[in-house]
């Protein structure tokens, strides 16, 4: 068949070899499906990921998203699709480099190659219609791309996707993704019945005819691979994973909102946060909840504040630019002590930045963007499972402490898909109905317990509790007061609440030994990659541990003491910091990673940082390299895949 390798010749899978394929045994394997956007690579990836999870594999699926909705076809920057990393144990991050790529054209795979996303021995299955395209420019682009790819020892296999699909459908563009799904199912030995079930689930809103067509295309791809490919990959699954669910972080946030008893999601669309509201718009009403799309981010939080003031539980969800707009209202909620949950799904900044890409650049603005002293709670879930639970925690803290709580997730969690243990729901996660009992005469809305700063709030409807909330400096009765003592006391009371909350928190657990040469500190979505890197370093005999922070404000206790047990401490973050070796950069003027900045101030430990803003999740290998650079006894060199 057409399975001829391109110039320069590298490998050829002959039909003879295909009859007796080589089985590659792997503990884990990473596959990418890349296409122009709109060709359905993501659907294919989602189905493949879900089937793998059902077969007991650990799975991490992440979308490869171009910044534009419709980037030009066949462009290097337009690669759209999925990376799916499957393993024999739990998979906590997207890994390092892909071992197998299926590409719908040569340009998109070139994009991945240039981003160093592919392992040297990567197998590339590529649509070959472009090689013989009538347009000479396309043929020339193909030749140039194949030439560029030949700089690495990839194995390039040409696949007649279009040609095969046309035997079944008129427009192959619509169905190639199912053909690819079939190929992958064959390569990885996926259970075909499960694949069909998942196709049915994915297209449940579509016609039976479409389902049948998709299954036909899938089987076509399966048959082609069976006849023509000389290798298979075996990644055994876990025998018993217990009851699992699989979803992305934004869906988990949405479900967390339902679980926490939220009444209102007030939002304005912004990538990569919007899908939380897409999900909720689909289901929230049947729970009695409402998604309100406001006229802008300011109104979105204003409506949430109004609802919360009136005794309902509300949250707003946004990304960096939206958080910036909400700044003044967050200050009001802090000053007037209104419970509120704000979810910020971080993307690359500043300004419009990298709308679809991951970054952890909003930590300091989440903490400090308001005028004056504005203490608030900031929490960052580290996994998709935590995206679900964090909302319950945040809602509770918001109400118990009468404060806004900011949840920081990011594009990596938002679009990453991972199976996790099905939560055992507990009705106590819900907000208790607001107290409506009459307020005794003379009682004010800010009668702070002077030890804790906590106070009881009254909501409209409560007889005797009438008062006017204000963002102006005020006393216990919410009377505007500008005198020195009142302002000092108000600030102290609002600040005290964080200290009280901090006292209820536990010191975070160390991954690895409690003392040693090097401690890696992380927060948010990087946990999986950091711990994988630390495990690899420890397997090499290095004295490395890591710790992951969930609470950024207030910070969990015991950090200074913990840090002092290590010779060096550094943070790993997806935000910008100056490279110490860059021109003009000195230890004094170096701008550091945001968490390291905070930790230095908080602990007086010389916390270093290693940060990158590549617009993609960190790879364990990169982090391992950073560990090597800081460990005297390390064998230098690239931290490869397992």
């Amino acid at each position: 068949m057409t399975d001829t390798t391109t110039k320069p010749a590298r490998t050829s899978a002959s039909a003879v070899a295909a009859a007796n394929p080589r089985i590659i045994e792997a503990r884990e394997h990473t596959v990418e499906i890349v296409s122009d956007s709109g060709e359905g690579a993501q659907k294919c990836g989602q189905i493949f990921g879900a089937v793998s999870a059902k077969m007991g594999n650990g799975v991490w699926t992440v979308e490869i998203i171009p910044a534009e909705i419709q980037p030009p076809a066949r462009s290097v920057a337009g690669a759209s699709g999925n990376r799916i990393r499957i393993g024999s144990g739990p998979v906590t991050n997207w890994g390092d480099e892909a071992h197998l790529v299926v590409a719908f054209n040569e340009q998109v795979v070139l994009g991945r190659h240039r981003l160093e996303a592919l392992a040297d021995d990567c197998v590339i299955l590529i649509e070959d219609m472009w090689a013989s395209h009538p347009d000479e420019a396309v043929r020339a682009a193909w030749t140039a791309a194949i030439e560029e790819l030949s700089s690495k020892p990839y194995r390039v296999i040409r696949v007649p996707m279009e040609e095969r699909c046309l035997t079944l459908v008129e427009n192959a563009r619509k169905g190639k993704n199912m053909f690819v799904l079939g190929m992958l199912s064959c390569i990885y030995g996926r259970d075909l019945q499960r694949v069909k079930d998942q196709i049915a689930h994915q297209f449940r809103k579509k016609s039976q005819e479409l389902y049948e067509q998709n299954v036909g295309l899938m089987e076509l791809g399966h048959a082609w691979a069976a006849e023509n490919l000389d290798f298979r990959v075996n990644v055994p699954g876990m025998a018993d994973t217990g009851e699992m669910v699989v979803m992305n972080g934004n869906e988990a946030i949405g479900m967390g909102c339902v679980a926490s008893g939220m009444d209102l999601c007030s939002m304005y669309p912004i990538t990569p946060a919007t899908s939380v509201s897409h999900y909720l718009s689909e289901v929230f009403e049947k729970f009695g909840g409402m998604v309100h799309q406001a006229e802008d981010e300011i109104a979105a939080i204003g409506v949430a504040i109004g609802a919360s003031y009136a005794g309902k539980t509300a949250f707003t969800v946004t990304s960096g630019p939206g958080l910036a707009l909400k700044t003044e209202f967050i200050g009001l909620a802090i000053m007037a002590e209104i419970p509120l949950v704000i979810v910020n799904v971080q993307r690359g900044g500043p300004s419009t930045g990298l709308p679809t890409k991951v970054e952890q650049g909003d930590l300091l603005s989440a903490l400090y963007a308001q005028p004056g002293d504005a203490p608030r709670v900031v929490i960052a879930p580290a996994t998709i499972e935590e995206c679900f639970h964090v909302v319950v925690t945040a809602r509770r803290i918001a109400e118990a402490f009468r404060t806004p709580v900011i949840i920081l997730t990011d594009a990596n969690l938002a679009t990453g898909v991972q199976p996790f243990a099905r939560p055992k729901l507990d009705v106590r996660w819900h907000a208790s109905p607001p107290d409506q009992s009459p307020v005794s005469a003379g009682k004010g809305p800010f009668e702070w317990d002077t030890r804790t700063g906590l106070s009881e709030r009254f909501i409209p409807g409560q007889a005797g509790g009438m008062h006017t909330l204000t963002g102006l400096s005020h006393d216990e009765k919410s009377r505007v007061a500008y005198d020195a003592a009142t302002h000092q006391r108000g600030c102290a009371m609002r600040s005290r609440k964080l200290a009280v909350l901090q006292q209820t928190l536990k010191t975070p657990e160390i991954h690895g030994d409690a003392a040693g040469d090097l401690l890696v500190v992380g927060w948010g979505s990087t946990k999986g990659a950091i711990e994988e890197a630390v495990d690899r370093a420890r397997a090499e005999g290095l004295s490395v541990s890591s710790v992951h922070l969930r609470f950024l404000s207030p910070m969990e206790p015991g950090l200074g003491e913990m840090f002092r047990r290590f010779k060096k401490v550094f943070t790993v973050e997806i935000n910008y910091s100056d490279d110490p070796s860059d021109p003009f950069i000195t230890d004094e003027n170096r701008r550091r990673g945001q968490l390291s900045w905070m930790l230095r101030a908080q602990t007086l430990v010389d916390v270093d940082c290693w940060t990158r803003v590549f617009g993609e999740p960190l790879r364990p290998g990169q982090i391992l390299q950073a560990i090597h650079d800081r460990c005297p006894g390390a064998t230098s060199g690239k931290g490869g895949a397992l």
Partner: protein, 331 residues
């Protein structure tokens, strides 16, 4: 799979709220309150400020309608005018500059049982909060909106506002306002789903009161522009009209604002049917006469809080539904 940090028992946050579990439903005592019962602290406005008259009219309205103070909420922005909630014995929310309407929207959205008022200045509503204003008209929620228009930024001491007359000098435009003013009435009348638009003047107390009463009775976004004197910064903008009733024209109609008792003083009258949107838009154009009365009313305009009416479930029912939702994601 390891349990998440936020999983069961993961975070030891005090379940503080449990003490609030015993929900005692509100008892509105059946007693009648007078205007003084709605007054709170002594207003800090300048002597002669029109805001005093508005406060008086509001207190009278609350007493007249016998609105339970605990079921009444006044939301405001920032400005001299936005201080008004502090002087009432109802619930109040003195928010941030320009953002009264989003807060009021949030209050009303889930608590249709509350009587919600929004109080704004012209800078508040027509400048910094203009985006919210336009959309709040569209939402048409049952909120009574008081625009206290003194044609100037007063609290910040004399800067041009969108409604400052062209040529009128201020600290920021000492040679006089460069631009012709924005007309809050025509803007409101131009927005889809406008349902109640009226204009009154604080120096005509009976008209002010009747207008507030009609606005409050209307179920929808009742927009009342109140011409308001600021003797400190815009002493002359309305002064001529105060002295010369000939500059005022009353809009009259059976369905409009009652004008009984005003006939002798205000001779200029214009019959106008508040159902007539085109007529309203024409009359709302400023031509040297201050027209007081009801420009437009449409009781049939859909209200957002009704459109978005939702089922009510117990916590347990919600959790059961959520458990079923998880089935969709089961592996």
């Amino acid at each position: 799979m390891p349990r998440g940090h936020f999983g069961e028992g993961g975070c030891s946050v005090i379940p503080f709220a449990s003490s609030l579990l015993d929900c005692v439903s509100c008892s509105t005592e059946d007693k009648h309150l007078g205007p003084a019962d709605y007054g709170s602290s002594v207003p800090r406005w300048c002597p002669g400020c029109g805001d005093h008259s508005v406060l008086t009219a509001v207190q009278r309205l609350l007493a007249d309608e016998n609105l339970p103070p605990e079921r009444t909420v006044f939301v405001s922005g920032i400005g001299c005018s936005s201080r008004l909630p502090h002087y009432l014995k109802t619930y109040g929310f003195h928010g941030i500059h320009g953002r009264a309407l989003p807060i009021a929207t949030g209050v009303k959205l889930h608590r249709p049982d509350l009587n919600v008022f929004a109080v704004m200045g012209d800078g508040d509503c027509c400048s910094i909060g203009a985006g919210h204003w336009i959309h709040a008209i569209r939402y048409n929620m049952d909120i009574t909106v008081l625009l206290l228009d003194n044609c100037i930024y007063a609290l910040t001491k004399d800067q041009t506002s969108p409604t400052t007359p062209q040529g009128y000098a201020s600290n920021t435009q000492p040679k006089g306002s460069w631009l012709p003013p924005l007309n809050p009435l025509t803007v409101t009348l131009g927005v889809t789903n406008a349902s109640f638009v009226a204009q009154t003047a604080e120096w005509v107390p009976s008209h002010l009161f009747e207008t507030l009463k009609a606005a409050r009775a209307h179920r929808g976004f009742s927009f009342v522009r109140i011409l308001q004197r600021c003797p400190v910064f815009t002493p002359d903008i309305f002064q001529k009209a105060v002295r010369d009733p000939g500059q005022i024209e009353l809009l009259v109609h059976d369905d409009g604002i009652p004008t009984a008792g005003l006939e002798n003083l205000y001779k200029n009258r214009q019959a106008h049917d508040p159902r007539d949107l085109h007529g309203a838009r024409r009359l709302a154009e400023f031509d040297g006469k201050f027209r007081l009365g009801l420009f437009f009313k449409d009781a049939s305009a859909p209200r957002y809080e009704e459109t978005r009416h939702l089922p009510v479930h117990t916590a347990q029912e919600r959790m059961d539904l959520l458990d079923r939702e998880f089935d969709r994601y089961a592996v």
